[in-house]
Symmetry: C2
Subunit: 135 residues, 2 copies
């Protein structure tokens, strides 16, 4: 169903992809919906969700399922890590390289076939650090 071999480039899909690649803010579906509506005022949120799934299945973007209640999307489909601010929930790319030693750890786990791992750093962003501690 999501193996999407023939897949059509509709204006909606094109704009969604363009807008997502324009930013590095890792927007949620709803945030992207707002961005895309500037160019396509009649688009529906359902279309945004459907296209994000399809683009993810096609490896053109990635879906980030980080430790917050909603999913975020990243126009950069390359493997890289993210840091999430525990106060404001902002997500930025981490500048560390993908760590090869982790792969060695993976080998130690025997009874599962390990496909990969998901690593997310948690921290406090510069902006939030300057604020008086929440409240």
């Amino acid at each position: 169903m999501l193996d999407q071999l023939n897949f059509r480039m509709t204006p909606q899909r094109k704009v969604i992809l363009e807008e997502l690649r324009k930013v590095n803010t890792h927007p949620s579906a709803d945030e992207l919906y707002v961005m895309v509506r500037r160019r396509l005022p009649r688009i529906s949120l359902g279309t945004v969700y459907r296209n994000l799934e399809i683009l993810t299945a096609n490896g053109q973007i990635q879906k980030l399922e980080l430790g917050s209640s909603l999913k975020r999307f990243d126009g950069n489909a390359e493997n890289h890590y993210h840091i999430r601010c525990i106060r404001c929930d902002r997500v930025v790319d981490a500048s560390v390289d993908f760590d090869p030693t982790l792969d060695r750890e993976l080998k130690k786990m025997s009874d599962f076939d390990i496909i990969g791992y998901r690593l997310e750093f948690i921290g406090i962003c510069p902006a939030c650090r300057k604020q008086p501690p929440s409240g």
Copy 2:
């Protein structure tokens, strides 16, 4: 609000904690609700959610926000990794030690104050491996 200094040990909270510690299946709130109802048939799902938050804030259990749509809970509050089966969504404890080299990586990230990280392994569990590939 969730700093829970005075906190009361109600029968509901006690049973929730006991049932969660009894298993290593990392149940969701709803799964735990079913388990707990065997002993407390009148308990409400809201109470289960509220207690899971409080127990998490108290460090007695941990909330797992892994890459699936719902949150799971772990009666073992110690730091450890998890492996999630990408087919059946089962979550098991990973037998690798918590990797200290990751802490070195953390240091390289400058502009955030890094608090920690969340690492989850993704794989296919033995049971699912034996099945014909999903469908």
